[in-house]
């Protein structure tokens, strides 16, 4: 692997993305709303309604989720239920969205900006170029997710402190979700967009294809994230590994179509 060249491509892509308002603003604004504004508002509400009886609500959720909540003092239940469990999917939507948007920019965007041909004339092996483009989307997606989660945890703990007097996020399962599952979800979004971008001529087309066809299915799966917080850490780890395997399989299949010849044929 030609790592200096890969670093150069990744560095160039990240610099370009930072300068593109159309890409960078959603990259910051959406995670801010999902991981700071929404948790802040809901935590404030939950704190203000700490005497609400959540037992009826917990009747509708799986026993494994209800059990740890019901074991808490009543004034803590709503806050822990909402911020400690129910908002978990938001933490996985962020890596999915960021990786998908950046992958569309990195792959289809080169075609749209007519910069792909000059890139193909550089002494950079197909595999190195593919890896560089993957990293251009994956690294910021994971970084934004982790920073976002840190903000989410700080916000939730700060708002809940007056009720709980302890840090309730992250738990061990949360750490598995954030450190192991979130990168896998980012890789999944990336894998989907690599395939979609190969067929699309513009970033917008790639985003539309991805958003309309495949990503909704992944969003549905991500919606089940709360399950990962109530199973044992080992099971959560295995579920993450399954996700990783699927993502890597898709990326490997995508890499077979990522050859100079195929890219140049579609120029």
């Amino acid at each position: 692997m030609n790592w200096p060249a890969i670093r150069a491509v990744v560095g160039k892509d990240l610099l370009a993305v930072r300068r593109s308002k159309a890409v960078s603003i959603p990259m910051v604004a959406v995670p801010f709303v999902l991981l700071v504004v929404v948790p802040f508002g809901l935590a404030l509400y939950a704190r203000g309604h700490s005497t609400v009886d959540v037992e009826r609500l917990l009747d509708t959720v799986p026993h494994q989720l209800a059990q740890p909540i019901l074991s808490l003092p009543q004034r803590e239940q709503l806050l822990v239920l909402v911020n400690g469990y129910l908002l978990a999917p938001l933490c996985l939507i962020v890596p999915l969205m960021v990786s998908a948007v950046l992958a569309a920019d990195a792959f289809a965007g080169e075609k749209e900006r007519k910069t792909l041909e000059s890139l193909l004339h550089l002494p950079l092996a197909d595999r190195d170029l593919f890896v560089a483009k993957l990293l251009s989307a994956f690294v910021p997606a994971v970084a934004i997710s982790w920073i976002g989660f840190l903000c989410f945890a700080i916000t939730s703990n700060a708002v809940g402190w007056s009720v709980l007097h302890r840090i309730f996020i992250p738990t061990g399962n949360w750490l598995v979700v954030i450190l192991w599952v979130a990168p896998a979800v980012a890789a999944f979004g990336l894998a989907v967009m690599v395939r979609v971008s190969a067929r699309a001529r513009t970033t917008q087309e790639a985003n539309q294809l991805g958003a309309a066809v495949v990503l909704p299915l992944i969003f549905l799966a991500v919606g089940q994230t709360t399950v990962l917080l109530v199973v044992s850490i080992g099971v959560a780890f295995v579920l993450g590994a399954v996700l990783w395997a699927g993502a890597l399989l898709l990326i490997w299949r995508g890499s077979r179509h990522f050859t100079r010849d195929q890219l140049a044929t579609r120029l």
């Binding site: 060249a5 670093r7 150069a8 160039k12 370009a16 910069t115 004339h121 002494p123 100079r260």
Partner: protein
């Protein structure tokens, strides 16, 4: 000595369309080859095949002795390509575009910086170094892209329309630069252009492609000798030649063809020695001859003649 470029039966199709059909040619080191042809002739496909960007489905190629099919990265390390579209990242500055390419090409940070600044200066872009490419004119983009193609001092340069979008002064500078790269620095240049005057000034040899096939390859004067008998000359008679004058010219042995022009006549003679005889014949009939200038065919004349011959052959084939 290793040829700069060598192809044998190089062929590539896209679906049912044959983009390049059996290209065979050789280019000497330090030579400027004009790769000519209308849009869709196969020029860009040739450049992509020679740089290992596309794979040939038949035939073989060598660039500096390397096979682009198997040593593509090594080939690209030693070639520089200016694509028809400048292909610069608009979200980066001029300098950042050069530095990025230099880094991918394996140049050190300090060397990249020095070389980028040197080229920006050379192409009159130093004052634009830290401006985003987004606001650049076509000419500025072309100059920057040309600078990028020269960053690593390539042995072979592929230049696709290097002067399109440039003003006359910048065009002259680029043409001088290309000539200097070949003459003074021994670089081989493959020049794809529609500007035939520019190609005529720079190219040692020309290759004419039409619908993927090589229709002519050689020095313009060699191709002219194949296309036409003798040489052409302009006779300045102070006005259009009258029929008696044309008859007098036709009567001279060795005159192949004569046509009246606004200033006199254009005459095609078997060789240069016939020309003084033509002048003497006119003077003997008291026709004033102000000038008799041999006009060797230009690259442009040859190109259009090859195109015309190709179209005639195609029409004939279609009629059969």
């Amino acid at each position: 000595m290793t040829l700069a470029i060598e192809t044998r039966d190089l062929t590539r199709s896209f679906g049912d369309a044959v983009a390049l059909d059996g290209l065979t040619l050789e280019v000497e080191p330090g030579e400027v080859l004009a790769l000519l042809g209308p849009n869709g002739a196969g020029k860009t496909t040739t450049v992509r095949l020679l740089n290992g960007v596309l794979k040939a489905e038949r035939g073989e190629a060598r660039v500096l002795g390397l096979d682009p099919a198997t040593d593509a990265d090594e080939v690209r390390r030693r070639t520089g390509v200016l694509t028809e579209n400048a292909g610069l990242d608009e979200r980066l500055t001029a300098r950042e575009n050069l530095l990025f390419t230099a880094r991918v090409r394996g140049m050190g940070r300090a060397a990249s910086s020095v070389k980028a600044d040197e080229l920006l200066e050379r192409f009159g872009m130093a004052d634009k170094a830290n401006l985003m490419v987004q606001g650049f004119s076509t000419g500025q983009r072309k100059r920057l892209a040309l600078a990028r193609a020269l960053l690593h001092d390539p042995d072979v340069l592929f230049l696709d329309e290097p002067t399109s979008g440039l003003d006359p002064a910048a065009t002259r500078d680029v043409v001088d630069l290309i000539a200097s790269l070949a003459q003074d620095h021994g670089r081989t240049v493959i020049l794809c252009t529609h500007f035939l005057g520019e190609a005529g000034r720079l190219a040692h040899r020309m290759a004419v492609l039409h619908l993927g096939k090589l229709r002519a390859f050689g020095r313009p004067e060699e191709l002219a000798a194949e296309l036409w008998d003798g040489i052409e000359a302009d006779l300045d008679l102070g006005g259009p030649a009258e029929s008696r004058m044309l008859d007098a010219i036709r009567a001279v042995r060795g005159v192949l063809e004569v046509t009246a022009t606004t200033d006199g006549a254009t005459v095609r003679v078997r060789d240069r020695k016939v020309l003084p005889v033509v002048v003497a014949a006119l003077v003997g009939r008291e026709v004033p001859v102000y000038a008799a200038v041999p006009r060797p065919p230009t690259l442009e004349d040859v190109y259009f003649a090859v195109e015309a011959r190709t179209l005639a052959e195609e029409a004939e084939r279609a009629a059969r």
